[in-house]
């Protein structure tokens, strides 16, 4: 591969991976606490719209933050049903997913009809890191990105550290395995799950926000385009560890970048086949890695009455 093409491919990989990385890291934490939040797609859509509105009013930085807030609100709706009402996680997740997508589309539509929406917002500028961005091969791809991407470089190690090296992290992981033991140790399983869910919502919202303020500079219904569900698959693919998730998002980013490249290079492959490749890859990976590390034991199970 010529260098320019390789550079373009790596940059596209990182850009495609960024929104997935936010969402998947959030989902990882939620799932390690025992909650399967399939409402992620709704939080991404809400985050994207909030980022668009925030950026219109106060610039892309505020838009980015607004995306996180909107994601947290969507996650709070999910948490209310799952933790306070002890509802089935999958059912609530499906409903919240539709709520987030439908509500953001409806709000945007109302704004467009009222002529209150400008078409374009400013995007976050890319900030090359002095020194690092001139590294061969990976310099531009990793270190000439908007600030939102750099945030991930801190969030992943930080999340790993909290999960594995703090009391809270141990309690969180234990909640996903044996919530009764956590309660016996004097913690509140519900509070831990609430914290994990809100964290997951904030990150999903930020993932949606990057689509708007770091990439396209505008909003459209359905622009989340299934990324929430891919993020859920990535968590399973990454065997519920931060490192695994990093690998998962990069693989997905690379496959997406490859399908853009394949079409641009006019390689003689049917485009529909190329577009299907990320999903084929997920299924293949699930089959290959089956059983090598199982999901949290209590994943998806509602807490018992007394917890």
């Amino acid at each position: 591969m010529p260098t320019a093409v390789l550079d373009g491919f790596l940059e596209a990989t990182v850009r495609s991976a960024t929104p997935l990385a936010f969402a998947a890291l959030g989902e990882l934490v939620a799932e390690r606490s025992g909650v399967m939040n399939i409402g992620l797609e709704g939080a991404i859509a809400a985050g994207a719209l909030a980022a668009f509105l925030g950026a219109q009013i106060a610039g892309p930085e505020i838009g980015f933050v607004a995306g996180g807030v909107a994601g947290a609100l969507v996650a709070a709706v999910f948490a209310f049903f799952v933790l306070a009402l002890r509802s089935q996680q999958i059912i609530v997740g499906a409903a919240v997913s539709m709520l987030g997508i439908g509500l953001s589309a409806s709000i945007h539509r109302a704004m467009v009809s009222a002529g209150a929406s400008t078409a374009q917002v400013q995007t976050l500028a890319s900030l090359p890191v002095p020194g690092l961005s001139t590294l061969p091969v990976v310099g531009d791809a990793l270190f000439a990105q908007p600030i939102s991407t750099y945030l991930l470089y801190f969030l992943f190690p930080l999340t790993g550290w909290v999960l594995y090296h703090t009391v809270f992290g141990v309690a969180l992981r234990a909640t996903g395995e044996r919530p009764l033991a956590v309660v016996a140790a004097g913690h509140s399983a519900a509070k831990i799950q609430l914290a994990a869910l809100i964290f997951g919502g904030v990150l999903a919202g930020l993932g949606g926000a990057t689509l708007v303020v770091a990439q396209t500079g505008t909003f459209s219904d359905g622009m989340s385009a299934g990324r929430g569900f891919i993020a859920i698959a990535i968590v399973a693919l990454g065997r519920w560890t931060p490192r695994g998730v990093v690998v998962g998002v990069l693989v997905f980013g690379a496959v997406s970048a490859l399908q853009f490249l394949a079409q641009a290079m006019a390689w003689n492959v049917p485009y529909t086949l190329v577009l299907a490749s990320p999903y084929v890859l997920t299924l293949a990976a699930m089959a290959i890695f089956r059983g090598s590390r199982t999901a949290p034991a209590a994943l998806g199970q509602p807490l018992d009455g007394g917890l």
């Binding site: 373009g8 059912i91 539709m98 990439q215 396209t216 385009a225 577009l275």
Partner: protein, 348 residues
């Protein structure tokens, strides 16, 4: 005593569970209803003449769907129609909503796309008092008409312009999915490119959907990396990402589709291949209102100016003057109906 307790306890649990499931289902339905209700807004004064529009994508796309919504508004403003719009996703949605509007006595229901024609043909016999119109396609019934646009003509002109502006000799197309009208438009575009620069390379790509703006932008960036410097987009909302990519790179130009997209990125757009959907919708709505409608394929082209090439202000500064004169003369021939079609492939 004990037996009674043993019976009532699971009973209560069951009742509780049921209440919970009922509550969850209610939430689910409420959400669905909300989507439907907000999607299908009705406006305007109560009249007998009611027009409905089904779009396959969001009306905020500033392209195919946005243009159709403007057409719907035109029937309200010019003919006093009571209007309704709904966004639909799957073929079963097409048919279900066609039936809903037929059953509620709408006079005219427009399915905005080639892909609506099968659903229209199936539903139309059950609602003979409703006229179904699809934008694109060839399917005709007594109460079904198809609007056919010679989108290939201005696409050919766009190809000539692209070839004239391109310095790299590589130009590209980005479509949503490989629908026959889109494919035909890209083929005409390619023929137009080769009319000016026979050696130029045309790369045709598809995003795979019409919504994912991030993917539209990435596809554009990959093409730019490959050397393409003029991109003809026909991907609706996903296509908005193509304009964003052009804004971020110097010397990259975009040609818009369906609506006039010249203002989306004034520094990068050479022009738009426009379908005047308000004009076409108004024409057919007038026929339905006055009772003169007959089911047929209604053709529009450069000749009646419903389908046209709209150059941007930027174009005059970027293209070779001699090439633009050729574009003008080909356009004049198309208007006169004297242009021998060099265009292969299916007509939209």
């Amino acid at each position: 005593m004990f037996t009674k307790r043993a019976k009532t306890l699971p009973d209560n649990v069951f009742r509780l569970l049921n209440a919970r499931i009922v509550f969850q289902l209610a939430t689910l339905f409420a959400v669905c209803w909300l989507q439907q209700a907000c999607g299908g807004k009705s406006r305007g004064e109560a009249t007998d003449f009611r027009v409905a529009l089904l779009t396959p994508g969001p009306i905020s796309d500033q392209a195919w769907n946005g243009g159709a919504y403007n057409g719907l508004l035109r029937t309200r403003d010019s003919l006093g129609a009571k209007i309704s719009h709904i966004q639909v996703k799957t073929p079963s949605d097409f048919e279900e909503n066609f039936r809903q509007y037929g059953a509620s006595g709408y006079s005219l229901v427009i399915g905005h796309g080639f892909e609506f024609q099968d659903a229209a043909a199936r539903v139309a016999p059950d609602y003979p008092n409703t006229v179904y119109v699809t934008t694109g396609g060839e399917t005709v019934r007594p109460n079904v008409a198809a609007l056919s646009f010679a989108f290939d003509e201005p696409s050919f002109l766009a190809g000539m312009v692209a070839a004239s502006v391109s310095r790299s000799g590589v130009v590209a197309c980005i479509g949503g999915t490989e629908l026959p009208p889109v494919k035909a438009s890209f083929e005409a575009f390619t023929a137009g490119v080769h009319a000016i620069k026979p050696a130029a390379q045309v790369i045709v790509t598809y995003v795979g959907n019409w919504d994912d703006m991030g993917a539209g932008k990435e596809q554009a960036l990959a093409l730019i990396q490959r050397g393409a410097d003029v991109i003809f987009q026909n991907a609706d909302a996903a296509g908005l990402g193509v304009f964003q990519a052009a804004k971020e790179r110097l010397g990259i130009f975009v040609i818009g589709s369906n609506s006039n997209q010249n203002e989306i990125a004034p520094a990068a757009v050479l022009g738009s291949v426009v379908i005047d959907l308000p004009h076409a919708f108004l024409l057919v709505a007038r026929e339905v209102q006055s009772g003169t409608f007959t089911g047929r394929v209604i053709r529009f082209g450069t000749r009646d100016n419903v389908v046209r090439w709209e150059p941007s202000v930027l174009l005059g500064r970027r293209a070779v003057a001699r090439d633009l004169q050729r574009v003008d003369s080909v356009q004049a021939m198309m208007r006169a109906g004297a242009f021998a079609r060099p265009i292969t492939g299916a007509r939209p």
